[in-house]
């Protein structure tokens, strides 16, 4: 058994165990500590210092994303000194680049915006000279806006350590440092497979989904957990929708360690669901009349199917009817068709394309 002990965050006693960081424990108890470079799935980075805390008995401020808990540890998350440092960090980031929230896709769930909000920063105190970088819109699914990048490195880490596509890296030096694809190719011409993991972990609006643009701000979207309909991995997906339309997918972050996909997706699970919105979806039964499929009502169609099956069964026996069930419909639906074939029609002629 793991032994548990207590730590104190802002005076509150919290039960925990070894191996966790102060940030983990704070998150578990809904205590807000801002983070920019840390992400649960990319781990500690120790770059941004947004997560600084004060620890009783230790000198200086410590990065809570990297600080392991110890028995009896007492931590403060929002002292005046900490807030001052955080202000400086945010001011510096805001003064460099273009961090305009108004029409940004990330408005409402941007971690930099959140931080500025909590610190009461409306606009940066100063602005640095800055040369605008053109957007990279070369990729089918992803738009890159380097002007909004805060160089936290999450996308690079997850591209190289989580999804293992090894496309993103930091390129150039010091002032000009930025995230590049391969040897600085436009994303659409690089080896990027467009799994979209980088967009999912980006804390700001530097990486966004092309077709989500303008579809609605975060707070207007509904989130529902579904299972991907494509391959047998069965990735767990948080599907974002608005006005009954698919907008985009994220791999489920909640309990990601135990998810079959550990929060990741591939290009199909990420971008492949706009077929749901298509105009050419079937939305009425069709019956062949004089050689052509024509629109029909449900009663007419169902009556016809039932009577033809009944007749064919009467004339040729139940074994003259065959059923193709599907590897894409649910267990319940598969069971329903199986029960119908065996229990109502009375034949074992049921199979699906597992073989195909």
């Amino acid at each position: 058994m793991e032994s548990t002990f207590k730590i104190y965050i802002n005076g509150k006693a919290l039960e925990t165990s070894a191996g966790k960081t102060v940030l983990d424990v704070a998150r578990e108890h809904d205590i807000y500590i801002p983070t920019l470079c840390h992400h649960p799935r990319t781990g500690k980075a120790g770059k941004c210092r947004a997560c600084l805390v004060e620890v009783e008995g230790l000198r200086g401020l410590k990065e809570s994303c990297a600080l392991e808990v110890r028995d009896g540890m007492s931590v403060k998350t929002h002292t005046e000194q900490i807030q001052e440092v955080r202000k400086m960090i945010v001011e510096l980031l805001l003064s460099n680049g273009e961090h305009n929230c108004i029409a940004c896709e990330k408005n409402g769930h941007c971690e930099l915006q959140d931080m500025a909000y909590h610190l009461g920063i409306e606009r940066p105190g100063y602005l640095l000279d800055y040369e605008r970088i053109t957007l990279d819109e070369s990729s089918e699914g992803i738009i890159r806006d380097a002007n909004k990048c805060i160089e936290c490195g999450r996308c690079i880490k997850s591209c190289n350590n989580n999804v293992m596509h090894e496309v993103l890296d930091f390129g150039w030096r010091s002032d000009h440092m930025r995230v590049i694809c391969d040897d600085d190719k436009p994303m659409g011409e690089s080896t990027c497979v467009q799994c979209g993991e980088c967009v999912q972990v980006c804390p700001v609006g530097a990486l966004t989904f092309r077709y989500a643009k303008g579809k609605g701000p975060y707070w207007e979207l509904d989130k529902t957990k579904v299972i991907c309909t494509y391959c047998g991995v069965g990735c767990s997906i948080d599907m974002f929708t608005k006005d009954n339309k698919f907008v985009y997918s994220l791999g489920t972050e909640e309990n990601w360690q135990d998810q079959t996909n550990k929060g990741m997706l591939c290009v199909k699970g990420r971008f492949g669901f706009d077929f749901l919105n298509r105009e050419d979806r079937l939305d009425t039964p069709l019956i062949r009349k004089n050689g052509k499929l024509e629109k029909a009502g449900w009663d007419e169609a169902l009556d016809l199917v039932a009577s033809r099956f009944t007749d064919i069964k009467a004339e040729h026996g139940p074994g003259s009817i065959g059923f193709f069930t599907s590897a894409r419909i649910s267990n319940e639906e598969n069971y329903a068709l199986m029960r119908f074939a065996r229990g109502v029609v009375g034949t074992n002629n049921i199979d699906h394309c597992a073989r195909l």
Partner: protein, 531 residues
């Protein structure tokens, strides 16, 4: 899968064959790369193409398509000759050793080199690495099963794992990667001609009794013979089969030898297709019933590692469509079955009652969790990530003697190239969904034939040129992708694209047991299109 995907990191060595994992199961492909690069797991890839994982492999063997039984048994020949097998495991947990050992004799490294094109030295290295590194896991997909001897191939993999004792431990096992999101579930639910749910055989009277009782039927009313498979139903269209009810499948695209399949379908008296789009198959139906798509309804799906997961409803489907189970129940009612379960909950309750492996998987347990892996017989049971721990479910594992059989068709003078088919990263199956996606169709919008540089030179074909590809069954026009990533003499065509449908070319020769068509090998010729 006997084991779970998360265990890739627990293996010492992984064997990948007949799966282009980074394209067809991309997220898992990444997990394998991670195991190799971060955990030092050894990797053996056996594939005629330079698939994505080949770059990470310690050994990449390029076999001739259709020779999998040969190299798989060849590996075992070397392992046993060198005494690298796990004698204790074989003794205690398996049977059939004598006969199996005899059948191994045929597969000498020399013979295997002849049949598979894999140099015997390389085969030896692979055998040594796989047998002596520790825990080995084997992953495969359709590249192993879609052959006229696909069942032999699977048996050969299971033999390999048995002689090495690679069962019942994390990071081992026989692990088929299922190509579609609910293949596992469709099988578990008895969507097969020979079994009810949880593989309870229809020829078993007790099983029939159990289901007859649950469905309020008389035992005599239950069909006591194994039914027909998808492929035999198409074959027997017009003869023993008069009508088909096709739910969410598109055999007009996915069946081999399409010209023939089309002729067969025309012989039917009545075809009902239930789907979300007017697919190639729906277009030839007598009645088309519009259904909801996955995110428009809720229910459970079972992934390749037997994990039963709950999927929620995110959208309302088209106003004029209905859920599959609602449609099926409505037809059942009209055919006089008054007590057919109406709701998803009612259906699931019946499933749990009749399916021991799902009995403990309640909606409550999986709705907000990451799912449960069957068998999960009771509400307290934690699920089973690894099968055959301690001993095999059937008692002893059966080592199978395997006689070599060549593919049904191979390259000859008239059709000098070997065609193998498969999927791309961006598309899925017959393309009815992915080809309607802006991003996916935006990345790849047409089919291509992968042609080796040397073959292209010989044919005077350049990259990007349209060529004509023909087999004994038909021909298509398609753009050539000239590459050194495919073995000489072999060509690859993805089967998603109706404009250049690979299955016009493929062979409908079937595996005698599993009735799987030989998609992965057929003879073709490639010609320039005269200007």
């Amino acid at each position: 899968m006997t084991n779970s995907m998360q265990e890739a990191e627990n293996s010492d060595v992984i064997l990948i064959t007949g799966t282009n994992t980074t394209w067809n199961h991309p997220v898992f492909g990444g997990m394998i790369k991670k195991a190799v690069m971060q955990k030092g797991v050894k990797l053996i890839v056996v594939d005629p193409r330079d698939i994505g994982l080949a770059k990470y492999a310690d050994i990449h063997m390029k076999q001739n398509p259709g020779s999998d039984n040969a190299w798989l048994m060849g590996l075992q020949h070397i392992i046993v000759k060198n005494n690298w097998h796990n004698k204790e495991f074989v003794e205690e947990k398996t049977e059939g050793w004598e006969e199996y050992l005899q059948s191994l004799e045929f597969y000498t490294p020399k013979k295997v080199e002849e049949l598979s094109g894999i140099p015997k030295e390389q085969l030896y290295e692979a055998a040594k690495l796989y047998a002596t590194s520790g825990r080995g896991a084997a992953y495969y997909a359709m590249g192993i099963t879609q052959h006229s001897h696909g069942v032999d191939n699977v048996m050969a993999i299971s033999n390999l794992q048995m002689i090495l004792g690679n069962f019942g431990l994390p990071g081992t096992g026989v692990n088929p990667l299922r190509g579609q999101n609910n293949v596992q579930g469709a099988c578990d639910m008895g969507g097969l001609p020979n079994v009810f749910t949880a593989y309870q055989p229809v020829v078993n009277e007790d099983a029939r009794k159990k289901f007859a009782e649950a469905w309020d039927k008389k035992l005599e009313e239950m069909d006591d013979k194994v039914g027909q498979t998808v492929t035999t139903m198409v074959k027997n269209a017009g003869d023993s089969i008069k009508a088909l009810y096709i739910v969410g499948e598109n055999p007009m695209m996915s069946d081999p030898n399409q010209n023939h399949a089309r002729k067969q379908m025309d012989k039917l008296d009545f075809i009902v297709v239930q789907d979300i789009f007017l697919t190639e198959t729906a277009a030839i139906a007598d009645v088309v019933l519009p259904a909801f798509a996955f995110a428009e309804k809720y229910g459970t799906f079972t992934n390749t590692e037997r994990r039963v997961q709950f999927s929620n409803k995110a959208l309302d489907g088209p106003a004029g469509a209905k859920s599959d189970n609602e449609i099926i129940a409505a037809i059942a009612r009209r055919m006089g079955c008054t007590d057919f379960p109406e709701t998803v909950e009612d259906l699931y309750a019946e499933i749990r009652e009749l399916t021991p492996s799902y009995a403990g998987v309640s909606y409550e347990r999986i709705k907000d969790s990451t799912g449960l892996r069957w068998p999960c017989p009771t509400e307290e049971h934690p699920g089973t990530p690894i099968l055959h721990v301690g001993k095999f479910a059937r008692g002893k594992g059966l080592l199978k003697a395997i006689e070599y059989r060549p593919p049904a068709e191979y390259a000859d003078e008239d059709y000098p190239l070997v065609l193998t088919t498969g999927r791309l990263l961006q598309h899925y199956h017959t393309g009815s969904m992915t080809r309607r996606s802006k991003v996916l169709e935006g990345i790849v919008s047409s089919g291509m034939i992968e042609l080796n540089v040397a073959d292209a030179e010989h044919l005077k074909v350049i990259n990007g040129e349209k060529v004509k590809v023909s087999s004994r069954r038909g021909s298509i026009e398609i753009t050539a992708l000239v590459t050194d990533k495919i073995k000489e003499g072999i060509v690859f065509i993805p089967f998603h694209f109706v404009e250049s449908a690979a299955n016009i070319l493929t062979n409908d020769a079937l595996d005698p047991v599993a009735k799987i068509p030989e998609y992965k090998v057929c003879a073709v010729k490639v010609e320039k299109i005269a200007e």
